[in-house]
């Protein structure tokens, strides 16, 4: 909380607020600058992008045309987006479908030893993914899942599920107990309680959780590059395929990265209002 206390030193408070505001803008701009530079570079010719930084140049969409039309490595633009879209969408839907009942069973009507269960969920994230990649790869090979979209859907679901369960559990815990009791007395069965009462209340939390799952799955690189580097691979792989050993590629890479960022930014923008409320939900009574 910022110091909005009403005292005799109003003037001083005003100045402090102004300075704090200025500081946050400066910090925000510093953080945002690389992104800004990336977008800017995407609209430059390679020669300008690689020259000394210059702000004024003739903008061109040539790099965007090129990265979307040419297949640099093994993967085309539309193919990668198509693969990413489905891997992200299906894994996120699966995560939510599985996490909602799990969160219910860990908060509203806790199962026995729910603390241990909760710890188990998060413990699956303890192992660095690098350490698990070899067994995963062997499993995927033996199940004939290498280079399929399915392997990514399965792994993204598994990867995001613990996080989603944890987040949703904390949102579910905020639902007043009396509301569920009132619904019970009003004759609502379990499904009715969840769909009519609980889910509408935690909708902001659902939006925030789903958005995080989308972001993590969309940006996932390591699993995709190890298990699915060929056909059926995803946008992050496509972005790196624009790194070339011949000639300059900074502008092209910037254009590709900008395109790869757009869907997430878009999703974030759509969910923003709901998400902020969702993230802040636990903070205020």
């Amino acid at each position: 909380m910022s110091g909005s206390s009403t005292g005799p030193v109003v003037g001083q408070n005003k100045r402090t607020n102004f300075l704090l505001g200025l500081l946050s803008w400066v910090i925000a701009l510093i953080f945002f600058f690389p992104v800004f530079w990336m977008v800017l570079n995407g609209f430059k010719e390679e020669i300008d992008a690689n020259a000394d930084p210059k702000l004024f140049f003739d903008p061109t969409t040539r790099q965007f045309d090129e990265v979307t039309s040419q297949t640099q490595g093994l993967l085309g633009f539309s193919e990668a987006f198509y693969n990413s879209f489905w891997a992200v969408l299906i894994s996120t839907v699966l995560v939510m479908v599985l996490a909602i009942p799990a969160a219910y069973a860990l908060s509203i009507r806790p199962v026995a030893k729910w603390r241990d269960v909760l710890f188990f969920f998060i413990s699956t994230k303890f192992l660095p993914i690098v350490a698990a990649i070899l067994p995963l790869w062997i499993l995927a090979r033996d199940l004939d899942l290498l280079n399929t979209r399915l392997v990514l859907i399965i792994l993204y679901t598994a990867m995001n599920l613990p996080l989603a369960v944890w987040m949703l559990r904390s949102f579910f815990s905020e639902v007043p107990r009396e509301l569920i009791e009132a619904a019970q007395i009003d004759g609502a069965k379990l499904r009715g309680q969840i769909t009519s009462i609980i889910l509408p209340i935690v909708a902001p939390g659902l939006a925030a959780t789903a958005l995080l799952c989308v972001i993590f799955a969309w940006n996932e690189f390591f699993l995709a590059v190890q298990l699915n580097p060929v056909d059926g691979s995803t946008v992050p792989i496509w972005v790196t395929s624009n790194v070339s050993t011949r000639g300059n590629f900074l502008a092209k890479l910037s254009a590709a990265s900008t395109l790869a960022t757009l869907p997430v930014v878009l999703a974030g923008w759509v969910a923003q209002k709901r998400m902020i409320r969702g993230l802040a939900m636990g903070a205020i009574k």
């Binding site: 509301l179 619904a183 007395i185 004759g187 009519s196 009462i197 509408p200 209340i201």
Partner: protein
Amino acid sequence: MAEVRYEKATRIYPGTEIPAVDSLDLDIADGELLVLVGPSGSGKSTALRMLAGLEFVDRGSVYIGDQDVTLSAPQDRDIAMVFQNYALYPSMTVAANMGFALKQQGVSKEERAKRVREAAKILDLEEYLERKPKNLSGGQRQRVAMGRAIVREPQVFLMDEPLSNLDAKLRVQTRTQLADLQARLGVTTVYVTHDQVEAMTMGHRVAVLKDGILQQVAAPRELYRRPVNRFVAGFIGSPAMNLVDVEVSSELLQLAGEDVPLDADVAHALRNGFGGSSTVGIRPEHLALAAEGIPGRVSVVEELGSESFVHVVVKHEGDDLVIVVRDEGETDTARGDDVHVGFRGPVHVFDPDGARLGD
């Protein structure tokens, strides 16, 4: 509509040894408004929740009508409950809140709308039907919570301190409306409150609980006239009854040096009775400032307009003791006055265990 019966109903919360509700035996008649009253932790809410099915019954049984509902789910008990914080569904309009239970029962849309409108009319909520709960005042929310209960026409209403979130004036107003509504609908009602004034003004009968144990269940007047023990005597009545520990010597009890007038049966009980101390209880309205009686000095005068309560410090068995005396409104008595306190009404006597002596 139905009668309600608790039979040795006991609830022991997991991890505790002492029952929150201990062998509760209670019969509630069809159409009766029974108030469960007690201080916090007395088990009154737990008892209500046992009837609602929200709390497990460890021992004993609970009946609604002829049906043993001890193990039934809340959904299957045909009851409606009003919660202290109203528990309105925040994502639904007032109409949807009120119609939710009917929807669960599969009542048709037209029928639902009709019954919601009727209930809204009774509660003066017609113009708010399309609003969300967050856009209502506290009093309106309370009425919606009531509406949600009456739309259902259930067998039993359960009310868990439904007025405690209202401001004082609205609470008094709503109290009478609620009692009137209950009488008109004739639905058996169990009403929980910690406020003894609410209990006395609303209840057809009042059940007083303490530490999970039923102390007394009686009509308000009976409870006031004939409290069965020291706890009920002190709990019922506002301001509270003066309760003074008195050494027993023969059949006379002396309060601050004055003989306490005793009923024959109390005197008889004392004569055949016990040594040690007993407790004398006298309501403020059964004392008066008089020309003679117990001498004392006024420490506080509480003027309520129609009446006033005078706190008098007297010497009792060597110690200072404050007794509260009811006086007329607009009294001339002031702090520091030397006064005498006389008896002018019934005196209650309780034995060392707190049980009432005599009739």
